[in-house]
Symmetry: C2
Subunit: 193 residues, 2 copies
């Protein structure tokens, strides 16, 4: 296998990149100035040294604690529990949430061998003092629901309000194309106007 084939094989293993896209990207890099390839190579080789886990929330950061955890303006009594660091980034981009985060590092999935012990739950318990509300921002999937239920049981004896992101029709959605489960949740979670 030559250098080009090796690069295409590597690229096609990245999420969302098939064999055709990998080919297109590899040829684009080859057609471009070597500066692009070198810059990408430099960023990739330095990535794991530059970025570490925040010792408080578990998100990715260059400084420890991370920018969110060390920001005095953020409300430390409000913890948003997310599956992974990327979800934290997406919520941050929404600029809606003013509290802090806790990254679980996965969702409970017995079939994939992920049990509560594999998640950062003990860490969350250690942060619970002074916290008024835990918001579960977990995917509305079987794994997300299972994890939310488990966490709810874990924290039921703590004086903390437990909430979950609303599940329902996406804005701009169409009742005609919505699945039954989402429609059912939209009804159960209906709000007074």
């Amino acid at each position: 296998m030559n250098a080009l084939d090796r690069l295409i094989t590597l690229l096609s293993k990245l999420p969302g990149i098939g064999k055709k896209s990998a080919g297109r990207i590899a040829y684009h890099i080859l057609d471009s100035s070597p500066v692009l390839a070198q810059t990408l190579a430099k960023e990739l080789s330095g990535l794991h040294q530059a970025i570490r886990r925040c010792s408080v929330c578990g998100g990715f950061t260059e400084t420890d604690p991370c920018a969110v955890c060390s920001d005095p303006a953020r409300d430390k009594s409000l913890i948003c529990v997310v599956e992974c660091a990327q979800d934290m980034r997406i919520i941050e981009e929404g600029r809606e949430f003013s509290g802090v985060y806790h990254v679980l590092g996965g969702l409970i999935a017995p079939l994939e061998g992920i049990s509560p012990a594999n998640l950062s739950i003990d860490k969350l318990i250690s942060r619970i003092g002074g916290v008024k509300e835990l918001i579960f921002a977990l995917n509305p999937t079987v794994e997300g629901d299972t994890t939310a239920l488990y966490l709810q049981k874990t924290f039921k004896n703590y004086p903390v309000l437990i909430t979950r992101l609303a599940s329902g029709m996406p804005v701009g959605g169409n009742i005609e194309y919505i699945d039954k489960l989402t429609l059912s949740r939209s009804f159960r979670g209906r709000v007074k106007i």
Copy 2:
């Protein structure tokens, strides 16, 4: 901008990768073992050194001339003219064509400042001795049509058969959804059965 943001920005400039996909890929690399990032970095940094242009056809190769040009089993009297090295790869994967290639390095596009002088046409003229057929495997677009017409005029006084890939309905296509131009070409290029 931190290392993660820089990587996401770089990735989102690659073809077919938007900001969301770039984020997903960057987090995937960060979540994976550093070996993935290091291997990718190594391949990228060595890419332009390992891969050069074939001095005969202009395709990308590790050895010069390339595997196709140096294969005694390939029919050197049959040249398939393609826009870029990637098209050559795609045709090779089809295992249908037994001749050799010539990479133009683009298509004539006056609006983008690409004139015949920017393409590898002189090189093609220098290869024409002994060639029986030139197959234009160019995209059926305005640029592809313009380039095919230009090349046809260039080679009209040479004793060489000039052909072009058939344009028409894709296999598995549906007449209902085909555009008028393609349908018109399908009619004009109809074949006896």
